[in-house]
């Protein structure tokens, strides 16, 4: 099965990292980049080029001389760093790092929706062409900066980042509607900020309050579309989501014991 990660954070930030690496701390982004490469994630789009270039390179955030972009090339990755290259890139392995750190989420950088579109294009086409055909793909797309806007209690950026994520959801759902054999799960790992809207005039920002600058214990929605979507209904712990996915993908045992 082909795999992909898309984020508006660095591609080595906590959420995408948790899908393709295993390290002691989220702050170990240089090591996480090595893991993502070693685990051969087929498509990776996001920011954080600074964690992939050697310390001698301007803006590098590595503390060694490892050049992961060169290593990626040797492993067969095509690398892109702007929207024009993104539209034409092909290949079984594609690494797109569009900023040294997090994405700016403003033009001319490709949008999260565009990144999602091309990730699906690459993963789906290669899956169809592949000798090991019909094994499909798994793609994780994160609107990373919704959380950041809420930590900063910035309602305008919260709305902007949510709308950018919404556009990406549309791209994925449109594909699934055409494909008729793709399951889409839309959820969050937590709520941030405890945003509340007081009164009846939501146009007045003075009516918006935040309960915290941290994560809250609010339940988060899980939206599902496509085959087997019904198993995602109800109220359950978020740790059940990967278990449900593992059952659908016939991954046994799950979770796997760590190899020593």
């Amino acid at each position: 099965m082909r795999t992909g990660l898309v984020a508006t954070s660095t591609i080595t930030h906590a959420t995408p990292a948790s899908f393709g690496s295993h390290v002691e701390s989220r702050s170990m982004e240089a090591k996480i980049a090595e893991h993502l490469l070693a685990n051969k994630v087929n498509v990776m789009f996001g920011g954080g080029k600074a964690f992939w270039t050697p310390q001698s390179t301007q803006d590098s955030l590595r503390k060694d001389d490892i050049d992961l972009l060169v290593q990626a090339g040797k492993q067969g990755y095509a690398t892109v760093d702007d929207g024009r290259q993104l539209t034409t890139v092909e290949g079984p392995y594609v690494l797109g790092l569009f900023q040294q750190k997090a994405l700016t989420t403003v033009s001319p950088e490709p949008t999260l929706a565009e990144l999602t579109y091309h990730a699906i294009r690459l993963l789906n086409e290669r899956s169809k062409r592949s000798f090991e055909s019909n094994r499909g793909f798994f793609l994780m797309v994160e609107g990373s900066q919704i959380d950041w806007a809420c930590h900063a209690n910035d309602v305008h950026d919260c709305i902007k980042q949510t709308l950018l994520f919404d556009e990406a959801v549309k791209v994925a759902v449109d594909f699934a509607a055409r494909d008729e054999n793709t399951l889409i799960i839309i959820t969050a790992d937590h709520e941030t900020g405890g945003l509340i809207i007081k009164g009846d005039d939501v146009n007045k920002t003075g009516h918006i309050n935040w309960a915290t600058g941290g994560h809250s214990a609010m339940p988060v929605p899980v939206y599902a579309y496509g085959p087997h979507s019904k198993i995602f209904t109800g109220v359950y712990d978020n740790t059940e989501i990967p278990q449900k996915l593992a059952r659908l993908l016939k991954i046994k045992p799950f979770p796997r014991k760590l190899e020593k």
Binding site: T10, R26, S27, A102, W148, H151, T212, G213, G214, H215
Partner: protein, 65 residues
Amino acid sequence: MNGSIELIADASFGVKVKPGDHVEQGQQLAAKCGSQEPLTSPTAGTVQDVTFDSDGHRFIITIMI
């Protein structure tokens, strides 16, 4: 002594103080990065700023002493 100190807190758990607050030595401000252990002020002072660092998913608390 005059000056300021910066303390780093895990963003997941928020911050219990805001700019302008007076804090006492030993007062809990937030949680330490990567843990739920309390982050306490090493000295008395006034909170000058609390900023969110998205790259590190952490808060930086500046205290004037």
